[in-house]
């Protein structure tokens, strides 16, 4: 028995050193040499500063300005709303939304009234965002929930989904073009440019990388900060 214990502990220590330190550090080392950008998180810089990751969704929100011309505050935090000049990512279940240091599922059940309420709220928000201040619809086809693509209403899994569907982007393009005074053709062309096709033309679903698309929009010089 003592001999068995000795062998067991010696084995687990040896294995720990080899496969708990040797293997992971070797992978890290090789990755850093061969795939430096990718292994470091596909980070994107603008003007020399990192603004996010191509693989991680982020919020494109602006502060709400009250009638007095000041930023509205709630509990010491500025109140924010989706910035209409930017394409918006999918609903997120993390706290706060798009939290890339604390990913979590929303865990909305399929037969739950809580899920229904969340969907209704997301749909209402989406329709409101795509309606101009003069009550005109940016995209005339999207008048009710039935016209909202599922990815715009359903919470993503990771809470940091970097992509939206092409259908979703096509609807938002009307708004972005109007707010930025760009032609719809220009915006649609950018959407197409930042659409990732299925891998090998077969695997997964096409998606539009929202951060890269928004960066490209800002580079047009129209309607950026």
């Amino acid at each position: 028995m003592r001999r068995d214990l000795l062998i067991a502990f010696r084995s687990i220590v040896v294995i720990t050193i080899l496969f708990g330190l040797g293997y992971p550090l070797l992978v890290t080392g090789v990755g850093q040499v061969i795939f430096p950008g990718k292994a470091d998180g596909s980070l994107i810089k603008r003007d020399g500063k990192v603004v996010g990751s191509a693989l991680i969704g982020q919020q494109f929100y602006e502060n709400v300005i009250g009638k007095n011309g000041k930023v509205q505050m709630s509990k010491g935090e500025p109140v924010t709303q989706p910035d209409p000049r930017y394409f918006q990512t999918r609903p997120s279940g993390t706290v706060p939304a798009d939290n890339a240091a604390g990913s979590s599922f929303a865990n909305y059940g399929p037969n739950s009234t809580v899920t229904l309420a969340a969907l209704q709220s997301n749909i209402a928000g989406y329709l409101a965002l795509n309606t101009a201040p003069d009550k005109r619809l940016y995209d005339p086809h999207v008048t009710s929930a039935a016209g909202v693509p599922v990815d715009a209403a359903d919470t993503s899994a990771s809470g940091i989904d970097p992509d939206i569907s092409v259908a979703n982007a096509t609807i938002q393009a009307y708004r972005v073009a109007a707010v930025r005074h760009l032609s719809l053709v220009t915006v649609d062309r950018l959407v197409a440019q930042y659409t990732t096709a299925r891998s090998l033309g077969l695997l997964g679903e096409p998606g539009v990388d929202v951060l890269e698309l928004n960066l490209a929009l800002d580079r047009t010089g129209k309607g950026s900060h």
Partner: protein
């Protein structure tokens, strides 16, 4: 459902069927001590490893000695892992998450340790908010290798028991384990880590990156040595995520190709081992019969899950969403799913991960429709024999094979024989016990958890009204008993107000019950499987006669499928009716 979706599923099946015999043949050579192309590279490290461990690889063990080595090795592994996880506050890389990480509380750590030892990898822990890089590497990655190897060697031991004609010995535990890691797990994991990194899976030792996004909003992006662990996590059917959302996280699974590749990694060894078995018992047809059984059940599960998820959920329909596929939108129940995987990629991943004991997820199972969610329930109810975990799947289905042979023998009125060996009272008792322990443990724990206030405290308050609360509980213990680790993730065992575990506390009842469920339902069946191996090893082989029942034809495949479904259904039907089936049938919304 779309043509492209089905094409993805069919291509996946085709690739799986193509690689399984190749990997299986290779593993058969490894476990019969023949030379393979890696021998030249690995032989020396292998010898050095034995010397460092103090092991004599030539010493053959009978089943009791083999089991003793396995249990003591696991016990040592448990203690070391618990120690690593509980000493986070003094580890290197401790403050890379922006704050200094404390250890998770004892009860959560008990659960995490037990579940990694048993290849369950249940996630009460929260990945990037709970564990340091050191814990992930030195703690979890080690058991990702070790627990996978332990599962595989039990299957190999059982194969030897069936195949051996002269000796009652079944191999050497340490030699089998070391060879599993060096010849199978390590090379495949290393290459896969490179493949994954080339697609954007991260692997670094950087601090979490704090940025201001393009509209000025602050965001912290978690980093870490992910790719190495991701590869072995899938390959060893472990499934414990580096990040909380597991393979749904873009840094673990960035695109459609990695999703495909990771699913393939999960099934590679469980499917390959079936052919290893065929080689080692000298009957390819026998392997094909087992493979066909698994594949039929697998494909049925994929079909149901894909159809259910493509149909959409009652909540979506009540909200007025259109869930048909339209141009440029996936349609279907995309709640809790990622755009880049869509419906087919999520449904297939879900089935792959629940037929095996992997439990990695790329979507939220809690958010699957009633029927879509019933599929993982059904997969788990079949006791992980549809490919199953690495090793565990094969030894479990072989127990089912022996049961089917016994039943078939009774029906035709002959002494049941399998590959020439008589299946007698002792074997069939061991088989029955080995097969019933896991389901009974699952049901017993579920009953405890639903009948007590302490158990019900874990049920999600967010979205789990009505049957969903029961489903969460039932799934939690079914999953841990089957060493799967996927979850209806609203079920809580850990309350964590902030990253780094400051002020966090576990839910003792759920943590301990889950941990003990995993441990008991792992090691008890292993002991029975090894006992069966011991009982069969060295039995005389009787020649095949006219009256011998064939076990390698379509009739037997049908019998085997029938036995698996019958045992699973008889055990779990009442409980399944209370949860997922109610939701699937009614479409009713619950508070």
């Amino acid at each position: 459902m779309t043509v492209n979706g089905w094409l993805q599923i069919l291509v996946f099946c085709a690739v799986l069927i193509a690689i399984a015999p190749l990997l299986g043949g290779y593993m058969a050579k490894v476990y019969t001590g023949r030379r393979v192309f890696l021998t030249r590279v690995v032989a020396l490290p292998e010898r050095l490893l034995y010397r460092a461990m103090g092991v004599d690889p030539k010493r053959e063990q009978d089943w009791k000695s083999y089991a003793k080595s396995l249990i003591i090795f696991s016990l040592a592994g448990w203690l070391i892992l618990y120690l690593v996880l509980r000493t986070q506050s003094i580890q290197p890389w401790n403050n890379y998450g922006g704050v200094a990480f404390h250890a998770a509380p004892w009860n959560v750590t008990f659960n995490t340790t037990s579940s990694f030892l048993t290849n369950t990898n249940w996630q009460y822990y929260g990945g990037e908010t709970t564990l340091t890089y050191f814990s992930q590497m030195v703690g979890l990655t080690v058991q990702n290798f070790a627990s996978a190897a332990v599962g595989i060697v039990v299957a190999i031991a059982l194969i030897r028991g069936i195949a051996n004609r002269t000796s009652s010995n079944i191999g050497n535990f340490y030699s089998d384990m070391v060879r599993t890691i060096l010849y199978v797990l390590l090379p495949l994991a290393f290459i896969s880590a490179l493949v994954l990194m080339s697609q954007g899976v991260i692997d670094n030792l950087s601090h979490y990156v704090s940025v201001h996004g393009i509209s000025g909003i602050a965001q912290t992006i978690a980093m870490g040595p992910v790719a190495g662990q991701e590869a072995i996590k899938e390959l060893g059917t472990n499934g414990g995520g580096f990040f909380n959302v597991n393979s749904a996280h873009p840094f673990e699974n960035p695109n459609g190709f990695t999703n495909f590749y990771e699913m393939l990694l999960v099934l590679a060894i469980p499917a390959g081992l079936v052919f290893t078995y065929g080689k080692m018992v000298g009957s390819r047809r026998q392997a094909l019969a087992v493979f066909a059984t698994m594949f039929v059940l697998f494909f049925a599960a994929v079909t149901v899950a894909y159809a259910a998820e493509a149909h959409g959920s009652p909540a979506q329909h009540a909200a007025g969403l259109h869930t048909q596929v339209v141009a440029d939108s996936t349609g279907g129940n995309l709640e809790g799913k990622e755009q880049r995987f869509g419906i087919a990629g999520s449904a297939l991943f879900d089935v792959v991960t629940t037929v095996t004991s992997c439990g990695a997820v790329n979507s939220s199972i809690e958010s699957f429709t009633g029927l879509g969610g019933a599929v993982p329930f059904a997969n788990l109810s079949a006791s992980e024999v549809i490919f199953g975990g690495v090793g565990t799947g094969l030894y479990s289905i072989l127990l089912y094979v022996l049961l089917a042979v016994f039943l078939g023998g009774l029906m035709v009125g002959r002494t049941p024989e399998y590959l020439g060996k008589k299946i007698e009272a002792r074997e069939i008792k061991l088989v029955a016990l080995g097969l019933l322990i896991t389901p009974l443990t699952a049901l017993f724990s579920t009953a405890l958890a639903t009948a007590s206030a302490a158990g019900r405290a874990s049920i999600s308050t967010v979205a789990a009204g009505g049957p969903q609360g029961f489903s969460e509980t039932f799934y939690a213990y079914l999953s841990q008993a089957n060493n799967n680790g996927s979850a209806f993730a609203g079920y809580t065992g850990f309350i964590q107000p902030a990253a780094g575990n400051a002020g966090s506390h576990g839910v003792t009842f759920a943590d301990l019950l889950g941990g003990f469920t995993a441990l008991f339902a792992r090691y008890a069946p292993i002991l029975f499987a090894l006992a069966v191996a011991g009982a069969l090893a060295g039995k005389r082989v009787s020649p095949v006669g006219l009256g011998t029942m064939r076990t390698d034809n379509a009739t037997f495949v049908v019998l085997l499928i029938g036995v698996i479904i019958l045992v699973g259904a008889l055990t779990f039907f009442p409980a399944l009716l209370l949860g997922p089936v109610v939701q699937a049938l009614t479409g009713h919304l619950y508070h």
